[in-house]
C-alpha cells in the first residue's frame, strides 16, 4: 500500500505558517537536518514526535495520514502504470510527492484520467458498433431483401403486359408492403445516425497490426520463402535444430547466448529495444520448455538474417502509420518467420489435413507447443494450398485479450471480454484439456470453437507459470474436416451452444449470463 506523504504535508503546513525549519526543529527537540530528512520523505515518522509536530503546526493527525490520500496515491500509481504513459516513464513513486505538494492537481489528474478512459471506452464501443453492429448488419440485409423484392415485382409489372388483374394486384401489393418496410428500415438507419454516431475508428498500434494482418490475410509468401532458405542453411546434425540455431546465431552473427537461472532477471530472451543485432547478446531462461526455447532461437535467427525482407514488407504497408505499430509489426513478422522455419508450410498443411487439424497430434508430430500449432494454422492461406480459415484468440485469466485474429462474421473483441460462454474461458477450468463446441450466434451464424488453457514460460520449482487460454474458431461448415467435428453434428441446430459476440453487441436479451447492457438498438 502507498505511504501517505506526511513529511511533505508537514513542510507545506510549516511554510504556510511562515515557520523556519530551524525554529520548528528546536520546538520539537530534533536537529534541523533530521527534520529536513522527515520533510523530504527520507525518514519515517510516527509516535510522539509526530504528535508534537502536529501540535506545533496546529494540524490534525488524521489530515497527515489520511486514507483519502493513500487512495489518491494508489490511483496515481495505476495511472502511471497505464500503457498510455509508458513512453513518459512516469515513476509511481513520485505520486506520493505530487499528492503531498499539490493534492488538488493530483485529484484533477485522476478525474481527467477517468474521464479520458470513459471517452476511450465510448470510442471503442462506437467503433465496434459500426464495424460489428448487429443492428446495422440486419438493416443492410433487410434493405437488400426489400429492394430485391421490389425490383423483381416491378420488373414483372413492367415486362409482362398480359398479366392477370388479380396477379397485377398481388404484385402491386408486394411493391406496397416491401417499400413500406424499406421506408421503416431507412428511418431506423436515419435515427441510428442521428444519435451522433460518427464513423470514428480507434487507431491504436494494435489495431493497425490487426488491419495489416487482415490486409495480407496473415500469409506472407516472401517470408515463407526466406524462412525456408534460412532453415535449409542450418547445419543440422544429430544434436538437432536447437543446436543448429544456436550455432547459427553465435557463429555467423557473433551473438553470445547466455542462460539465466530460474527467478533471475531477465527471465526470458529479453534484449534491449535496439535488438539482438545491436546488443550482440541474447539471454534465455535456463528452464524454458524445449519448444519455447527453439522458437525463441528461431525468432532471433530470423531477426538477424531476415531483417531486410521483413523491413521491406513493413515499408510497403500503408496501414502501419505509427513507429510503435511498425515496431510491433516487426516483432509479429519475426515470429512469423520463426514459425515458418519450425513448421514448413507444405509439410505442416499436409500433416494438418492428414491429422484432421488435431492440434495435440500436430504438436507432437512437430515437437512444438500447442500455441505454436494454433498460430501456424491461421497462416495457412497460400492461394491454391489453403487450410481451413481459422480465427484465433488468446486470453489471460483476467480476460485480457493478448492476441487475436478475426474472421469475417466472427468479431473477436479487442478490449474486454467476449461472450462468457465461449470455451476459451471455460478452458481455464481444465488446463491442458482441449474443449470444443459448436456455437450459434444470434444471427444464426455457427462456428466451431476449439480452446485449451496452457502454461507459459520457464518451469522450475517455486516459479509461477502463468496460464493462458488459446482458441481457434472456424465456420461450422468446416467442422467435418476436423477431428473435433466427429463428436458434433453440424446439421443438428439444437446441439449448438447459444452464444453471442460480447454482451454489448449481443441481442440475446434473455441470456442469464449477461454482464453488460446491450448498447445497440434492436
Amino acid at each position: 500500500m502507498a505511504r501517505a506523504p506526511i513529511g511533505l504535508k508537514l513542510r507545506e503546513r510549516r511554510k504556510a505558517l511562515g515557520v523556519t525549519q530551524t525554529a520548528l526543529a528546536a520546538k520539537v527537540g530534533v536537529s534541523p537536518s533530521y527534520l529536513n530528512l522527515i520533510e523530504s520523505e527520507k525518514r519515517n515518522i510516527g509516535g510522539s514526535l509526530l504528535m508534537r509536530l502536529a501540535s506545533e503546526l496546529e494540524i490534525q493527525l488524521e489530515e497527515l495520514d489520511g486514507a483519502a490520500d493513500r487512495r489518491l496515491i494508489d490511483d496515481l500509481g495505476e495511472i502511471a502504470a497505464s500503457p498510455t504513459f509508458q513512453n513518459l516513464k512516469v515513476s509511481p513513486q513520485s505520486a506520493s510527492e505530487l499528492v503531498g505538494r499539490h493534492p488538488e492537481w493530483a485529484r484533477a489528474l485522476t478525474v481527467l484520467y477517468r474521464t479520458y478512459m470513459d471517452r476511450d471506452q465510448t470510442v471503442i464501443a462506437l467503433a465496434d458498433r459500426l464495424n460489428q453492429d448487429p443492428f446495422l448488419a440486419a438493416a443492410v440485409h433487410r434493405m437488400l431483401t426489400n429492394v430485391s423484392s421490389i425490383r423483381s415485382a416491378s420488373e414483372i409489372l413492367e415486362s409482362v403486359p398480359d398479366i392477370e388483374p388479380d396477379q397485377r394486384e398481388r404484385f402491386h401489393n408486394i411493391l406496397l408492403t416491401e417499400s413500406d418496410q424499406l421506408s421503416s428500415v431507412a428511418e431506423g438507419l436515419a435515427a441510428f445516425f442521428d444519435k451522433g454516431v460518427a464513423p470514428t475508428r480507434s487507431i491504436s498500434p494494435n489495431e493497425e497490426i490487426d488491419d495489416f494482418l487482415q490486409e495480407h490475410q496473415n500469409y506472407f509468401p516472401e517470408l515463407e520463402s526466406a524462412a525456408e532458405v534460412l532453415a535449409s542453411s542450418l547445419q543440422l546434425r544429430e544434436q538437432g535444430i536447437t543446436t543448429a540455431l544456436s550455432e547459427l546465431i553465435e557463429q555467423r552473427y557473433g551473438v553470445t547466448i547466455t542462460y539465466a537461472a530460474p527467478g533471475s532477471k531477465p527471465q526470458a530472451n529479453q534484449t534491449s529495444l535496439k535488438g539482438v543485432a545491436h546488443d550482440k547478446r541474447m539471454v534465455l531462461a535456463e528452464a524454458l520448455p524445449g519448444p519455447t526455447r527453439r522458437f525463441l532461437l528461431a525468432r532471433t535467427a530470423a531477426e538477424l538474417a531476415l531483417a531486410e525482407t521483413i523491413d521491406e514488407i513493413i515499408e510497403k504497408s500503408s496501414v502501419l502509420t505509427s513507429a510503435e505499430a511498425r515496431r510491433r509489426a516487426t516483432r509479429v513478422l519475426t515470429s512469423y518467420c520463426a514459425s515458418a522455419m519450425l513448421l514448413p508450410y507444405d509439410r505442416f498443411l499436409e500433416q494438418s489435413i492428414k491429422l484432421r487439424y488435431d492440434i495435440e497430434r500436430l504438436r507432437h508430430s512437430f515437437d512444438v507447443s500447442l500455441e505454436q500449432v494454433c498460430h501456424r494454422l491461421i497462416t495457412l492461406r497460400k492461394p491454391a494450398a489453403e487450410g481451413i480459415p481459422f480465427a484465433f484468440m488468446r486470453v489471460d485469466p483476467s480476460g485480457y485479450v493478448s492476441k487475436r485474429y478475426a474472421l469475417p462474421g466472427l468479431p473477436i473483441p479487442r478490449y474486454g471480454g467476449a461472450c462468457p460462454l465461449w470455451p476459451v474461458y471455460r478452458a481455464f477450468q481444465t488446463p491442458g484439456m482441449v474443449n470444443c463446441n459448436l456455437a450459434a450466434f444470434p444471427n444464426n451464424d455457427r462456428f466451431l470453437f476449439v480452446a485449451c488453457a496452457v502454461e507459459k514460460g520457464a518451469s522450475a520449482y517455486g516459479q509461477h507459470r502463468p496460464l493462458l487460454s488459446i482458441m481457434l474458431a472456424c465456420e461450422a461448415l468446416y467442422a467435418d474436416q476436423t477431428v473435433y467435428g466427429d463428436t458434433l453434428s453440424t446439421g443438428a441446430r439444437d446441439q449448438a451452444l447459444a452464444v453471442g459476440p460480447t454482451c454489448r453487441l449481443c441481442t440475446r436479451e434473455d441470456c442469464g449470463h449477461r454482464q453488460e447492457d446491450l448498447i445497440v438498438a434492436t
Binding site: 440485409h141 431483401t145 425490383r151 423483381s152 420488373e155 404484385f171 408486394i174 461450422a476 461448415l477 441446430r493
Partner: protein, 122 residues
C-alpha cells in the same frame, strides 16, 4: 416434361416473384422456406436445379450446399446461390463449396432466368 426448379428462400415475396417469372418460362416451381427441410426435399424428390438462399432459418445455404455436394444422389444438381451477403469471402466460400452461380441481392429477374436456362439446357 417440365424442368423442375426448387427455390429455397425464406422471403415469401421474393419466392412469389421468382415463381411467377419462372412458371411463365415453362418451369415447374416449388419452394421451401426453412433450411432444415431442404435436404430431405431434395433427396425425396430431386429437382433439376436449386435456387438457394444463404440466410435461411435452421440450416444456412452454405451448409446445405456442402451436404448436397456430399450426397451422391443429388451431388451433381446445378445450384444458384442468392444472398444479401455479397462479400468477397462469401463469394469464395460459395465457389469453394461448388456453387454454379453466385448472385448478390438485389438481382434482376432476367439474369436469374438466364442462369436457370443456361444451367438446365442439355
Amino acid at each position: 416434361m417440365a424442368t423442375k426448379v426448387l427455390i429455397a428462400e425464406d422471403e415469401k415475396n421474393i419466392v412469389e416473384s421468382l415463381s411467377f417469372i419462372l412458371k411463365r418460362e415453362g418451369y415447374e416451381v416449388s419452394a421451401i422456406f426453412d433450411g432444415g427441410q431442404v435436404l430431405e426435399s431434395l433427396t425425396s424428390s430431386p429437382p433439376d436445379i436449386v435456387i438457394l438462399d444463404v440466410m435461411l432459418p435452421q440450416t444456412n445455404g452454405f451448409e446445405i450446399l456442402k451436404q448436397l455436394r456430399g450426397t451422391p444422389q443429388i451431388a451433381a444438381l446445378p445450384v444458384i446461390i442468392i444472398t444479401a451477403k455479397g462479400q468477397a469471402q462469401d463469394r469464395a466460400t460459395a465457389t469453394n463449396l461448388g456453387a454454379d452461380v453466385f448472385m448478390s441481392k438485389p438481382f434482376s429477374n432476367k439474369d436469374i432466368v438466364a442462369e436457370v436456362k443456361r444451367l438446365t439446357s442439355v
